[in-house]
């Protein structure tokens, strides 16, 4: 079946007819398919490993942050750098941009959370905490920002929510309206939180934890609404919501990625790979998920390059089968983001490269599993 879908290359088609094991050949085919025709744009601009990358809502801009203190913004279609946001004095762990591409927030190891004007590159506001900021996220209505701070030096892991005043013009900080103090703050009990995001339900966030737990919190009360202690067996490394926010995907060092229902936190799908995963993203419109990871930098030196498993893997969202891989990075893939329209994706690696891959026609036309209609 898969042959007809992708079998433009006659030679590959021939290969396929030899086997009865559809799946194996399909993987091979996809590999060829992606590697030969994807337009790969390696972008330099970061000198150290990437920590997070984010598309804006339209997908024309790509925000990247890394361990080298700067945040970059790029045109996603050609990889041209639009500008940098200077000001952090430590590894920038995390960024997020609002839906209007007006404000951007970033969190860093210098214990600061910064609000930036996307257009001017000016830092509008800085909040300082006792420990590093590991994760930030805008709410759906752009009026709130959630941030997770590290558990260190006697300080507990804390989750804070700040109000963002959108009435100002954004050119200068408005201390009266942009709350200096957090709107809400609480310390999750038990294992520390590593990742988080706002759910479509107001004032409810979903978090991933070091122990592998995922949980829902009411930010007002700090109360844990729901949890799944055994969602993963190891640290949750990434958490990304679906377009409509009704489900989310998490990746973990336990070598799996999972799709969960946002209400019940029930695991809907599991994708088991052979390498620790750092990031997982959902491809809009098509039933694929993108997984990235690799052997940790420490253990990579003892193995061959090939063995590090630094590819971005494409898995079928529903069938839980791997459909393809894209190579490129020389180190583990730390973060993956998919263009909101699903036309391209970007990956940031431990090697300091951001790679933007544009999908070609055959990717959209390919229906490797036949004509089943799959809801997004």
């Amino acid at each position: 079946m898969a042959v007809q879908m992708l079998g433009q290359n006659k030679k590959l088609g021939e290969v396929v007819t030899y086997g009865t094991d559809l799946f194996f050949y399909k993987v091979t085919l996809w590999r060829v398919h992606f590697a030969s025709s994807a337009h790969i744009t390696p972008e330099t601009g970061h000198e150290r490993s990437l920590t997070q990358i984010k598309f804006n809502r339209e997908g024309d801009l790509l925000f990247t942050c890394s361990k080298d203190l700067v945040i970059n913004v790029w045109f996603s279609h050609n990889g041209e750098r639009l500008g940098t946001y200077d000001g952090h004095n430590g590894t920038v762990w995390t960024v997020d941009v609002d839906s209007e591409s007006r404000f951007m927030v970033s969190g860093s190891a210098d214990n600061m959370l910064k609000l930036w004007s996307v257009a001017t590159g000016k830092c509008l506001h800085t909040w300082e905490f006792p420990t590093a900021v590991k994760r930030v996220a805008f709410s759906e209505d752009d009026r709130q920002v959630v941030c997770i701070t590290e558990q260190r030096m006697g300080y507990q892991c804390a989750i804070r929510v700040f109000d963002i005043n959108r009435e100002g013009d954004g050119t200068k900080p408005n201390n009266e309206t942009e709350s200096k103090e957090p709107l809400y703050m609480f310390n999750p009990i038990g294992s520390k939180a590593t990742v988080c995001a706002f759910t479509p339900t107001p004032n409810v966030i979903v978090t991933g934890h070091e122990s592998g737990k995922v949980a829902l919190f009411n930010v007002k009360s700090g109360e844990e609404i729901e949890n799944n202690e055994r969602a993963h067996m190891d640290v949750v490394t990434d958490l990304q919501l679906s377009k409509d926010g009704t489900y989310f995907i998490t990746s973990s060092k336990d070598k799996t990625a999972r799709i969960h229902d946002i209400k019940s936190l029930m695991v809907i799908k599991t994708f088991s790979t052979e390498t620790p995963l750092n990031s997982a993203a959902l491809a809009p419109n098509l039933p694929y998920v993108l997984l990235g990871g690799g052997q940790e930098a420490m253990s990579v030196t003892t193995t061959s390059l090939r063995q590090g498993k630094f590819e971005t893997r494409f898995w079928h969202k529903v069938f839980e089968e791997e459909v393809g891989r894209v190579k490129g990075h020389f180190g583990p893939v730390n973060t993956i983001a998919v263009h909101p329209a699903g036309t391209s994706y970007a990956s940031g690696g431990e090697d300091g490269f951001v790679r933007v891959h544009h999908f070609d026609e055959s990717y959209f036309r390919a229906k490797p599993y036949g004509d089943l209609v799959i809801e997004d």
Partner: protein, 732 residues
């Protein structure tokens, strides 16, 4: 209150402790013997008799005192009853006394009959009536070759990982499954017998063979601390080796299947596989050798003739000793004394020889039975040149000798059908500074054994005959790093194929592949295909799958290769692969699949195994830590005659039709199942998604989505590029 004053220990039950610490007296009568046949005497002579008896016993090393002897009396007659009881200190001493004193002549008229007291009792109570011994019911043994009758014609392989062994079936992807998961414990490694009948495991206590459909234990060989085993080619005999000399402890069980005290100090044993009997032991320790300059032992230490009739062993520098089977006596009671002999090899039997042997016994008048042949070489000594000799056995006639000069080392390679014999001669130049290589090829089936020499400038690191074929492949190298292995050093090599040219009747180069890193050649057991691999390198691990008859359909193979024009053109690379850290490669017995494995015995990086088809497509790969062994189960020789095989090859299309139909049916079956499964998964997913969406819609109510569909923004980029700029000077 009375309850409180009661002694609390009263109720406790001590019986278990009492039982544990109770002193047991040895009240058995095992240390008492009855001595019969002593003179009947009266009381006056008792003392004298007792001291005489004690003296007799003490003479034989069993110490007793007069007090230990008890003589029963017939009070009515006032005389002794003619026998006595003697108490010994231990049962062992009593045992010794029985052995020493039974049938001991006391004097001319009296002979001692010594028995165990308990025996007397036992035999006195014997039932006198004859009971027919029950005939054990005959339990037919399992068919040891049952796996060959697999309806799908699959092969088996064994994997050994950590402490676990698994036996798998291997066929089409849908037919691969675990055949058996034995619970064998505490063994060093596993090994198949050469025809696949048994699998052996090496334990501390010895070797155990397993087989049959239920994998029951079939045989055991009690060679303690065994480290290496080797089967004879027809699976009749087994050789075991241990680095520890045999020690037979006192009281060890004795019998034909056990090592006896005579075998002490030896460490190499030959066993009969079917009966389990020990045939003979040898020592591989050389007396002249000091431990510091220990040479590497050759393994197999005993080399079998292909028909299992003889086994031979070389004593380097002195002789080859050939033993006959099954007696294991030295053939004609003398070894082949060959000054300086280094190594030898038996000539294998080709299919033709075996067929002739079978037919000869039947219809045709018994042909002169073909003799075994062996080849050996001796190095240069003083003015004597080095020499390779073909010798027929048992007649011990020299068939052919060839002298060689400037020889550093020789390696002997027989083609598996015994048609060709190649001696790889490492020669040195006069200055002994550089080494080059000659291949001396004997054509054994021709009259006078003509020898042809292929001279090469480089060092040949590997040589391999094509099974059943007329080709061979070599790996040669002139890399300066050769011989100085270091971490990260990968030796550059060339691989060459040679083929017998029927016109000129000599071996001609087919093709050379230069600038490789391959260092291992693995021919398919059926010939034609081969794999070149880079083994044991930390950086390279390539596999190349070659076809040497790419252009020709195999029925016309001979003709095609004979035509001059396309000499060497039919050598074709089919595919390449890569198995990081590969340590072992093995073709399956059918020559359709290749297994590569990375064993934890060599390194601990990415252990596991992969199976490839002959075209270089990876079919499956398993990364398993602590993976140790992968071995295909060998198959015995085919039972079809050449004629039958030819017929099958001719009508291959007809046969394959049945298989094609089977495949198609199965495929549609599998895909139907798969499609149903996928349909179900999609349905579940879609149902869940719709439910979610509905809930979401209800929650948001009429709240309009803030973001309507926006029009796609077209980005136009104008690129100005100066392609060429020329300046022209216009001179007026």
């Amino acid at each position: 209150m009375p309850g409180l004053t009661r002694d609390p220990t009263e109720d406790i039950d001590y019986s278990d402790i009492e039982a544990k610490y109770e002193v047991h007296f040895d009240d058995s009568l095992d240390n008492t013997v009855v001595v019969d046949g002593i003179p009947v005497i009266d009381k006056s002579k008792l003392e004298k008799l007792l001291s005489k008896i004690a003296k007799e016993f003490n003479k034989k090393g069993t110490s007793i005192k007069v007090d230990d002897i008890f003589v029963p009396w017939d009070d009515a007659k006032g005389k002794s009853k003619g026998y006595a009881f003697i108490d010994f200190r231990t049962a062992d001493e009593a045992e010794l006394a029985i052995v020493a004193m039974h049938n001991h002549p006391f004097d001319a008229k009296h002979t001692f009959k010594v028995n165990r007291f308990t025996d007397i009792e036992k035999y006195a109570e014997m039932d006198e009536t004859y009971a027919e011994p029950e005939t054990e019911e005959y339990v037919p043994r399992e068919h040891l070759r049952a796996w060959l009758a697999d309806s799908q014609g699959r092969d088996q392989y064994i994997t050994h990982r950590g402490e676990e062994v698994e036996i798998h079936w291997h066929g089409k992807p849908s037919q691969c499954e675990i055949a058996h998961k034995p619970k064998w414990e505490h063994f060093l490694y596993v090994a198949w017998s050469p025809l696949g009948t048994y699998v052996g495991t090496l334990h501390r206590q010895g070797v155990r063979l397993w087989g049959g459909p239920s994998w029951k234990p079939q045989q055991r060989f009690a060679h303690p601390l065994v480290k290496l085993i080797d089967f004879s080619p027809c699976e009749n005999y087994l050789v075991t080796w241990s680095n520890e000399p045999i020690v037979v402890p006192a009281g060890a069980p004795q019998g034909p299947q056990y090592l006896s005290p005579d075998d002490e100090g030896n460490n190499l044993a030959v066993w009969d596989v079917k009966s389990g009997h020990l045939l003979r032991t040898f020592s591989t320790f050389n007396e002249n050798e000091t431990p510091s300059q220990k040479n590497q032992m050759q393994w197999p230490a005993l080399k079998w003739s292909p028909d299992d009739k003889f086994v031979a062993r070389v004593t380097p520098g002195q002789m080859i000793s050939v033993y006959e089977l099954p007696s294991m006596y030295l053939h004609e009671k003398k070894s082949l004394k060959i000054e300086g002999v280094v190594d030898f090899e038996w000539c294998p039997h080709g299919d033709k020889d075996i067929d002739d042997g079978v037919n000869g016994a039947g219809s045709k008048p018994p042909k002169k039975n073909k003799e075994n042949m062996l080849a050996y070489w001796t190095p240069e000594v003083a003015n004597q040149p080095a020499r390779v000799t073909l010798l027929s056995f048992p007649s011990r006639t020299i068939l052919r000798q060839k002298n060689l000069f400037n020889v550093t080392e020789c390696k002997l390679y027989w083609q598996n059908q015994g048609e060709f014999f190649c001696v790889k001669v490492d020669r040195h130049t006069k200055t002994k500074k550089s080494i080059f290589c000659n291949l001396e090829i004997f054509r054994v089936r021709e009259k006078d054994y003509p020898v042809e020499v292929v001279e090469l400038k480089d060092t040949v690191t590997d040589f391999s005959w094509e099974p059943n074929g007329e080709r061979f492949a070599i790996v040669s190298s002139n890399d300066p790093n050769l011989g100085n292995p270091g971490p990260g050093v990968t030796i550059k090599t060339d691989v060459s194929f040679y083929q017998l040219d029927h016109d000129k009747n000599d071996f001609k180069l087919l093709r050379t592949l230069t600038g490789r890193t391959s260092n291992a050649i693995r021919w398919s057991p059926k010939g034609r295909h081969l794999v070149l691999a880079t083994v044991g390198s930390s950086t390279k691990s390539e596999l190349e799958f070659w076809d040497l008859d790419f252009n020709s359909v195999d029925s016309v193979r001979k003709e095609a290769s004979a035509s001059k024009d396309d000499w060497g053109t039919s050598v074709q690379l089919l595919g390449t692969g890569d198995h990081y850290g590969v340590t072992d490669l093995e073709w399956d017995p059918s020559g359709r699949y290749l297994a590569t494995s990375a064993s934890a015995w060599r390194h601990t990086l990415e252990n596991g195994y992969a199976i490839w088809d002959f075209k270089g497509q990876e079919l499956e790969k398993h990364i398993l830590d602590r993976f140790k062994q992968f071995i295909w189960r060998p198959r015995p020789r085919t039972l079809l005659t050449r004629e039958q095989q030819r017929k099958i090859r001719k009508n291959l299309r007809e046969y394959s039709r049945a298989f094609d139909e089977e495949d198609a049916a199965e495929e549609s079956n599998v895909s139907a199942e798969l499609i149903a499964l996928r349909k179900r998964l999609v349905d579940e997913w879609n149902a869940w998604r719709l439910r979610c969406k509905k809930e979401l819609l209800e929650e948001r109510g009429q709240k309009e989505s803030r973001h309507d569909e926006e029009e796609k923004e077209e980005i136009e980029v104008w690129v100005d590029e100066v392609i060429e700029q020329t300046e022209e000077e216009v001179v007026e």
